[in-house]
């Protein structure tokens, strides 16, 4: 069932911060990330926890849920942006509900396909390398 996913050379060893409060979702995404060969930072299930990781950890790219236990994730986004770390939103909300400030950032609508996730991650990690 796990099937057709395999380690992606460009993602191997990439450190990906995951901010996601729903355990079932984070388990799924963590599973995928490991399969891509990524190292997972977190997952953080609260904004407070995520801000600490975003500020201190070595991170290549980040995946951010928008509503994290009732808190908006933008403070984490700002921290990442300040550090020049690329990030994408992974959310159940419509793209139109995302703050103007971050409209240019990639958005992965839930539910997401693993192929789409790896594609976005590749783009971010490549950008991060440049």
């Amino acid at each position: 069932m796990v099937g057709n996913l395999s380690i992606d050379p460009s993602l191997k060893g990439a450190r990906i911060l995951l901010v996601e409060d729903e355990w079932l979702v984070s388990v799924l995404v963590v599973d995928w990330l490991r399969q891509f060969g990524c190292d997972v930072v977190g997952p953080a299930s609260s904004v407070a926890q995520a801000v600490v990781l975003a500020a201190a950890e070595e991170i290549d790219a980040a995946l951010l849920d928008i509503n994290v236990k009732g808190e908006v994730v933008y403070s984490v986004a700002r921290t990442l942006a300040d550090r020049g770390i690329p990030f994408a939103f992974l959310t159940g909300y419509a793209a139109s509900m995302i703050s103007e400030t971050y409209r240019e950032r990639p958005v992965l609508q839930k539910p997401v396909r693993s192929e789409r996730l790896s594609q976005i991650l590749r783009e971010m990690v490549n950008q991060s390398v440049k």
Partner: protein
């Protein structure tokens, strides 16, 4: 005045109407022997009138008629006023004293009558037997021998007459009567103005009262309508806002549910030995998720009762004869959506495991679920224990499956709870320490 004069034949004009001049004898006043003026009496009359005007302006015209009757020694005395509502077509007998008193309220046409003649000539007139010209007086009894009329004015305009009548020839009016009646006419003007002002004031007051009543009613009605409209609009606006919010929230929730299902499918597949086993486990978990949704929908997605979340999975075994025994004890606790969904799925995993390998797999098995809510620091904390007994000897699992991962990783991370999952030989034990929102406890 003598009967012969009164009965002297007068030439009738072609239309058969007795000419005005033949019923007038005003110039006789100067020729008649005049009384001497009684100024003292006249003064008393004026004082009485002034007093009456001050005391009861509403009845001043009648009072004045009475006073005139007495002062002039007349048979009748009265007060004629031009009607105002029809533009002055009639004279209205506003007040009469003496023998004609019963005729109060009657009147004469403006264009054909003694009062009209007074206004036309703008001068006092003395009539004798005016019923000869104005035949409509003929039925009015007793008939008039002489009638002295004097106009009175308001703002320079003649608006009425005051008059005294002699019904027989014992009383002839003279120049002194004329002088006194003229002097009373200015008082009549004041009296008339007072009365009409009074009437206007009363009418105006009534109109004002009515108006203010109407206004009050209208204001009340308008207020009510306004309040209704505002409520309606607020409700609509709120309804619309809520609808939009609800749709957005529903969309968000649905998307998250899709990912949850996606995740359950993936995790289930990792532990499934066969496609059949996958389907069975996946369907069960989907059913558990769906049932928790049902409970939350009942609570409008704000809350679900803990007891129901547990009974959802255990009710098939609860209270049945000849099978495993299940007890569920604890006070009413409301869980929020996140807690209900996570615990619902966890209880499903525990119950499913018990049914396959644990206490629910044998007739003598038993599960006791009990909880308390205790105050810990500032927060309320739920302490729940799931204790299995009487089942087969428990062996710790060789690998962590979906249930173990959910309970040991998912619950702590998602609910900030402490959990212990112990595989004792005598039965599985699960303990949960879950911080509650104080309002929910």
């Amino acid at each position: 005045m003598s009967p012969t004069q009164a009965e002297s034949p007068t030439a009738l004009p072609s239309d058969g109407v007795v000419p005005l001049e033949s019923v007038l004898c005003t110039e006789e006043l100067d020729r008649r022997q005049s009384r001497l003026p009684d100024y003292e009496k006249e003064n008393r009359v004026l004082v009485a009138l002034a007093q009456a005007l001050a005391d009861s302006p509403g009845t001043i015209l009648q009072t004045m008629a009475e006073i005139m009757l007495e002062a002039f020694g007349a048979g009748s005395a009265g007060f004629s006023v031009l009607t105002t509502d029809d533009g002055g077509k009639k004279f209205y007998w506003a007040a009469i004293s003496g023998v004609w008193k019963p005729h109060i309220g009657g009147g004469t046409p403006r264009d054909f009558g003694p009062c009209g003649d007074v206004l036309d000539r703008n001068a006092p007139l003395l009539f004798r037997h005016f019923e000869r010209r104005y035949t409509y007086f003929q039925p009015v009894t007793p008939p008039v021998e002489e009638c002295l009329l004097v106009p009175f004015y308001v703002e320079g305009k003649a608006v009425g007459t005051i008059w005294v009548i002699a019904h027989d020839d014992r009383r002839e009016f003279d120049a002194e009567d004329l002088r006194q009646l003229v002097s009373l006419a200015s008082f009549a003007s004041s009296a008339y103005q007072t009365v009409s002002f009074n009437q206007k004031t009363v009418a105006m007051n009534e109109a004002l009262m009515l108006g203010s009543l109407r206004q009050h009613e209208l204001t009340e009605a308008a207020d009510l309508l306004n309040a209704k409209l505002q409520t309606e609009m607020a409700a609509r606006k709120e309804g619309e806002e809520q609808r939009v919010l609800l749709m957005a929230e529903l969309d968000h929730r649905l998307k998250n549910t899709f990912v949850a299902v996606q995740s359950i499918a993936r995790l289930t597949s990792q532990n499934a030995a066969s496609l059949d086993q996958f389907h069975e486990a996946f369907d069960d978990r989907l059913m558990a998720l769906s049932q928790t949704h049902d409970l939350l929908t009942l609570g409008e997605w704000r809350s679900a009762p803990l007891r129901e979340v547990i009974m959802m999975e255990l009710s098939p075994y609860h209270g049945t004869q000849g099978g495993p025994r299940v007890t569920v004890t604890g006070e009413d606790v409301q869980l929020d959506a996140r807690q209900a969904l996570a615990l619902g799925l966890s209880v499903h995993e525990l119950a499913n495991n018990a049914a396959k390998y644990g206490a629910l797999s044998v007739p003598n098995g038993r599960i006791d679920v009990a909880w308390d809510v205790i105050a810990s620091n500032d927060a309320m904390v739920l302490k729940l224990r799931w204790v299995e007994s009487g089942g087969p000897v428990v062996e710790p699992p060789l690998r962590r499956g979906f249930g173990s991962r959910l309970i040991e990783s998912g619950i702590p991370s998602e609910l900030g709870a402490d959990v212990q999952l112990e595989f004792h030989r005598e039965g599985v034990r699960f303990t949960l320490t879950l911080p509650l929102d104080p309002a929910r406890a």
